[in-house]
């Protein structure tokens, strides 16, 4: 590959499509307003000429980019050239490359193509580089060249962990993203509220309470179904395999993603037991990764979408054999419970003037009671353990989370003590681990100060 290679010509179309996305939303909105407000003046040539010209322009831009984009690999260096007027040439040394991810949407899959993301260390957007569309064979050859693999991996004969249809559905059902879907749907719908006829609210009011509750239920169920479908689409055919300290994670029904991950880049493992999952002893396993992998929505790399407690040990033996799951975490001292209850109560003090002026707002206190229940579980679930060079933290915000890391991955340790904590002899212990693009903090509140100092000194290599 000494001479620069171009991408598959489909890349032109993909680029054009990508750019056209930016036009679609405003277009629908403008036309929508026209139609709703009764300004729609019927068909005109404008409705044909404008889109055709736009599409041709976008295809032209795509074609220019495609023509000037070449990639080549020789002598341990990947070279990418692009640009017509402003020429750019990037050289990446092989040993600086952190990950190579393959990703194929529906269109690419029809043509047996794939997108290649090459990621280097460093959190900047600059550190990622994509080749939009090349054949799968080329992609695997490139991947093998850049990753020191002698052979192209056989796609089918791999053993590892997969998620069957039933489990997948269960995971989608309990994913807890209903709230997000509802918010998005609502935000989208609210764009059109201004366009509703004036007597809409009068009609709405005449429907009565039961109809409103029914509508709300429908809305919730609809959102729930959408969230399940979304989940299933992105996690279908999930498989994780480990081969010589390298993980390969594949997932996705329409858009397929293939992520390779070197085991030593994993900085911390978190097991997250959501409210809907914990009662059935199910949890999600995610990892913090140094460099490379990052997602637009800020989510982490999932190394198992939904695993049962009883499968955990087998899974760790397979995937994270140098870590161990502990079932004997140290609990917090009794006196910490008071602090958790106080912390759950304080925010509600600001409502006191409201209670005095409008007594009916006392229903807010239901929120306080719920918060107290949550606080009790936050206290009960919190724990920590130091075991040789491994540190385990368990804490709860909403979902119960257990974090495991190793001493050598800790970026910094903090002990924090508020005035109250000083009085009770308690402290918050916090560690930072790398997690691209920067770092993640994990903390346990209200451990005894003695224990906090012990953990602190464990990190201090003296």
């Amino acid at each position: 590959m000494s001479k620069g290679k171009r991408q598959h010509p489909l890349a032109i179309f993909i680029k054009a499509l990508e750019y056209s996305k930016n036009f679609i939303a405003p277009l629908i909105f403008i036309v929508g307003i026209d139609v709703f407000s009764g300004n729609f003046s019927g068909f005109s040539m404008y409705y044909i000429i404008a889109p055709v010209v736009t599409i041709l322009l976008l295809l032209g831009v795509g074609a220019i980019q495609w023509f000037f984009f070449t990639y080549s690999y020789y002598d341990e260096v990947l070279i990418i050239k692009k640009g017509m007027i402003l020429k750019k040439e990037r050289t990446i040394k092989k040993n600086r490359i952190q990950t190579i991810n393959l990703e194929a949407g529906l269109l690419l899959r029809i043509f047996k193509l794939t997108k290649v993301n090459v990621e280097t260390a460093g959190g900047l957007a600059e550190s990622e580089l994509s080749i939009e569309a090349i054949t799968k064979d080329d992609a695997y050859t490139l991947k093998a060249l850049l990753e020191d693999e002698s052979s192209v991996p056989d796609e089918e004969i791999e053993q590892g962990y997969t998620v069957d249809a039933q489990r997948l559905f269960l995971a989608g059902l309990t994913s807890g993203s209903v709230g997000i879907v509802m918010a998005v749907t609502f935000a989208f719908a609210s764009q059109f509220i201004a366009l509703l006829p004036d007597d809409f609210y009068i009609q709405l009011a005449s429907l009565g309470v039961i109809a409103l509750i029914g509508a709300f239920l429908m809305f919730t169920i609809f959102s729930w179904v959408v969230s399940i479908v979304k989940y299933v689409l992105s996690y279908a055919f999930y498989t994780i395999t480990k081969d010589q300290e390298e993980f390969n994670i594949k997932r996705g029904l329409i858009k397929q993603k293939h992520l390779s991950l070197k085991a030593h880049r994993i900085q911390a493992i978190t097991m997250i037991e959501g409210l809907l999952r914990q009662p059935f002893n199910y949890m999600t396993i995610e990892v913090d990764v140094a460099g490379g992998v990052q997602y637009k929505d800020g989510s982490k790399t999932v190394t198992h979408p939904l695993i049962h407690q009883s499968e955990l040990n087998g899974y760790y033996d397979y995937a994270f054999h140098d870590y161990s799951v502990s079932d004997s975490l140290k609990p917090l001292p009794k006196r910490a419970r008071k602090r958790y209850f106080i912390r759950a109560t304080l925010p509600f003090f600001i409502f006191i003037p409201l209670f005095i002026i409008f007594p009916f707002t006392l229903f807010i206190l239901i929120g306080w009671l719920l918060n107290l229940v949550l606080a009790y579980f936050r206290y009960k679930d919190a724990g920590y353990e130091v075991n040789e060079d491994q540190l385990t933290f368990r804490f709860r915000r909403i979902a119960r989370t257990t974090m495991i890391t190793k001493k050598q991955y800790i970026q910094s340790v903090n002990i924090r003590q508020s005035l109250f904590q000083q009085f009770f002899g308690l402290a918050t212990i916090e560690i930072h681990v790398l997690s691209s693009p920067s770092s993640t903090a994990y903390s346990v509140k209200d451990v005894t100060i003695e224990e906090a100092i012990k953990i602190y000194q464990w990190v201090k290599p003296l």
């Binding site: 140094a290 800790i410 910094s412 997690s435 100060i449 201090k460």
Partner: protein, 161 residues
């Protein structure tokens, strides 16, 4: 058991710098009070009690910024640097203690504003891949020496990830 502060202290001159800093802030705050006073002279509908509150606030802030906070800050900063790590503690009401292993340090900076420069002081800031820590108001020579020492030590310890 209590957190024992690391041995080294920031430079005694730092207090003077903080007093000056606090004084400048106070002058600005009194400026607001005076501005309100003159505006009220022209628009008499503005209530007088706001003026009183502003005066009380400005007085309290002045006492805090110029007299109390610099002294307390002096007592509460402590740090220790050895070949393995940097240990920093600070805080007045909330105590914060941080430990940064030497081989996790990505870069060290010294910086000094005009007031710190007047007293030949500098702030040392230490960055890891995701966190940033500061030791304020060291003597410039000390800060520079530390910067080189840390850079040297950080280079010595092997680089992983």
């Amino acid at each position: 058991m209590k957190l024992e502060r690391p041995k080294e202290r920031i430079h005694p001159k730092a207090m003077k710098a903080w007093v000056i800093n606090g004084s400048i802030k106070s002058v600005i705050e009194w400026g607001v009070v005076i501005a309100y006073f003159f505006i009220r002279n022209n628009f008499e509908t503005l209530p007088q009690f706001i003026l009183i509150i502003l005066i009380i606030l400005a007085s309290l802030l002045t006492i805090l910024q110029v007299i109390i906070i610099p002294r307390i800050r002096m007592i509460y900063w402590g740090y220790a640097i050895n070949e393995h790590d940097i240990d920093i503690q600070h805080g007045i009401i909330v105590i914060k203690r941080s430990l940064i292993p030497m081989h996790k340090i990505q870069h060290v900076d010294t910086e000094h504003g005009p007031i710190l420069r007047l007293f030949k002081l500098a702030t040392l800031s230490i960055s890891t891949a995701g966190t940033k820590h500061k030791i304020p108001a060291l003597h410039q020579e000390r800060a520079e020496a530390l910067r080189q020492q840390i850079a040297h030590l950080a280079r010595m310890s092997e680089e992983d990830v």
